[in-house]
Point group: C2
Chain length 389, copies 2
């Protein structure tokens, strides 16, 4: 059991009608705000007007950056960095889902250096020692970016989609209002639920011994997603479902459940290559890959974790033989992802063929084999892609 | 479902051999350290020497305050306040269990005001607006004081034992090394486990609707205590048991599982009167009272929570009738507390008779009826004390 440091000083306002505290919290960092958001959805739901009113009442100088795309691109980050420098921005207010928040993180870091923001990524990545403070208003429960130190940025020129972790990227304050996710479509809600579940599974499925308590926490989070994902898909304005998914999304990936585990994640690096080239939604890619990855990993040596997962998340009868529980657990996960959430089942269905599987497998292992639950070589990754066709 | 603010910026070093970071962390706050601790146990286990060496190497000026008692007294706090003021202390390093940390909290607050520290307590309590920074090294898993804003202090003159919550009392850094609890006696380990379990049950047993996810987190924490409490009692040097109890103790009461619930706690105010007058260990008092309180509260209207508790913490067959599950859950809790942890079963066994039950019941309701899971009048409290004889 490894030691670890727990240190997550993000302040979260959770619930309806907490936005009244926005001015107070932003004001701690200064008066010049970069308001970063994506498409028009925050205008459609009236959130944009509400924020502008609050910022005006608070006497803030506001510079806007809109149009941050899903799978956010380095060009959006570059535009943000330019605005931060030009207007001497004090704090970035990111309003949206993980894409907007991820982009805001690298704008915040890029504003503090002279080099191009893409240099924060890749094998010889530049250090991230400082960043402007980031405040978020979350409108999509999925990536957990509102409470973690990570972000993922795409570069269409190089067909790369690369992640980076750095302490200064941690948001200072996040506003989590479940009602702001009411307008998220059933499809995006389903992708979000698959993403949250994957974040937990990436940590849960490990051969490293860690605190039993953390396994219990993860099983509770997974049960929460399994219970409320389908409800939110069917009834987008179910407050309880939206609230549970939203808080679970933050805790799935803020580091708490990780404890001292040091294994790499598996499905995320494999998926990033899919959405880097084909621009599919991250959660959908994870949903398609995860059951195939589980089938590929299942062995006598690793079966115990499948058993805990099946028994404690899907309430499968613990008296059955281990391998039977494991196979049933995978079947139940598939039923959850593809029937209850209604996500597409194969890469073929989303228009991904064999052509680039080998190239993507090589890129997924660009830093070496993926040393997760099971060590995956480029050949293993290609095989899992093939199983997902 | 109520809104809430989540804000727990305590940094925790968890595991063996993390103390090397002590100097670095203390140094952020200054050079003059008040080292507060209890009896000689930290000397017996070699921890005192280790700390002194680290502080000397770091060039800190150290003032010592030892002899902080279990159920810490206001006089210890006063001595600490005096030392902080006299030596212009920058940071308090509390080494011990909840008693030492609780006392350190009010020294830290008292050092910033002119009035007597006892004025922080009671009906007309003075505000706590500032406190010296507090760093803790935990040696007993129980109260959760290492990661919360609360403390409880006794005043033998008035036979009062009063609690207080205040934001500035939150420790900045806590070192949680499970091996430092190896020397905790089986009896104190058992009392600690009972205390941790009670912290969760006080929040879990509520009629307020809150996030399902938080119920799952609490059930996971309770399962952890039920699993590892007896193991630590039988085998004090079981790292896994000590580690699980230690991290669970922090998360039981740091506020995370509370979400937006606003009900008062029940067993804690009843217990505080016992240990205020009879000086019994807090966790023991809680163990004796809790099953009786549950029996007293059990009704058709409140049975559902007992059922979840029984099924999800003690794995009782969910197909049984609700009332049967509830009674079995109480029986299983009693078996855990009195048989597996080996704690004494009645107030009579610990030397508490009828004499002061009525006075203690009145004091437990000094601020009005206890508005928890079930509203308790002084008569109700007295009845629960009687059931515990």
């Amino acid at each position: 059991m490894n030691s670890f440091v727990y240190d997550i000083p993000v302040k979260v306002y959770f619930g309806r009608d907490q936005l009244g505290n926005l001015g107070l919290e932003l004001g701690r960092f200064g008066r010049r705000v970069l308001l970063a958001y994506g498409g028009g959805s925050i205008k459609r739901i009236g959130l944009y007007d509400k924020i502008i009113t609050l910022l005006n009442e608070g006497g803030f100088e506001v510079v806007e950056l809109s149009g941050i795309e899903p799978n956010p691109r380095i060009d959006s980050v570059r535009r943000g960095v330019e605005l931060c420098k030009k207007h001497n921005i004090d704090v970035i207010l990111a309003v949206g889902g993980g894409s907007t928040i991820d982009a805001a993180k690298f704008m915040a870091a890029g504003a503090c250096v002279e080099h191009d923001a893409w240099e924060f990524f890749g094998a010889n990545a530049k250090p991230i020692e400082r960043a402007l403070p980031i405040v978020t208003i979350l409108t999509l429960a999925a990536t957990g970016s509102e409470m973690d130190t990570a972000g993922v940025i795409s570069n269409p020129e190089t067909e790369d989609k690369l992640g980076r972790l750095a302490r200064p990227l941690l948001p200072r304050i996040s506003f989590l209002d479940p009602t702001l996710t009411y307008s998220v479509s059933p499809y995006q809600t389903a992708c979000g639920a698959a993403d949250i579940l994957s974040h937990i599974m990436e940590v849960y499925f490990t051969t490293q011994h860690d605190l039993y308590m953390l396994d219990k926490m993860m099983e509770g989070l997974m049960k929460t997603v399994v219970k409320f994902g389908p409800i939110a898909v069917r009834n987008p304005e179910d407050y309880e479902a939206r609230a549970n998914l939203m808080w679970a999304s933050s805790w799935a990936i803020n580091g708490f459940v990780n404890g001292g585990k040091r294994k790499a994640w598996s499905c995320h690096p494999m998926e990033h290559e899919l959405s880097a080239i084909y621009d599919i939604t991250h959660g959908l890619g994870l949903a398609i890959l995860t059951p195939r990855w589980m089938n590929y990993c299942l062995s006598e040596e690793r079966v115990d974790k499948f058993v805990s997962f099946g028994v404690n998340v899907f309430d499968i009868d613990p008296s059955l033989p281990s391998m039977e529980i494991a196979r049933e657990a995978i079947a139940r996960l598939e039923r959850f992802l593809f029937d209850e959430l209604g996500l597409q089942r194969t890469l073929t269905e989303v228009g991904i063929g064999r052509e680039k599987l080998s190239e993507m497998a090589r890129k997924a292992c660009r830093y070496g084999d993926i040393r997760g639950f099971m060590t995956l070589t480029p050949e293993d990754v290609e095989r899992i892609y093939e199983m997902s066709l």
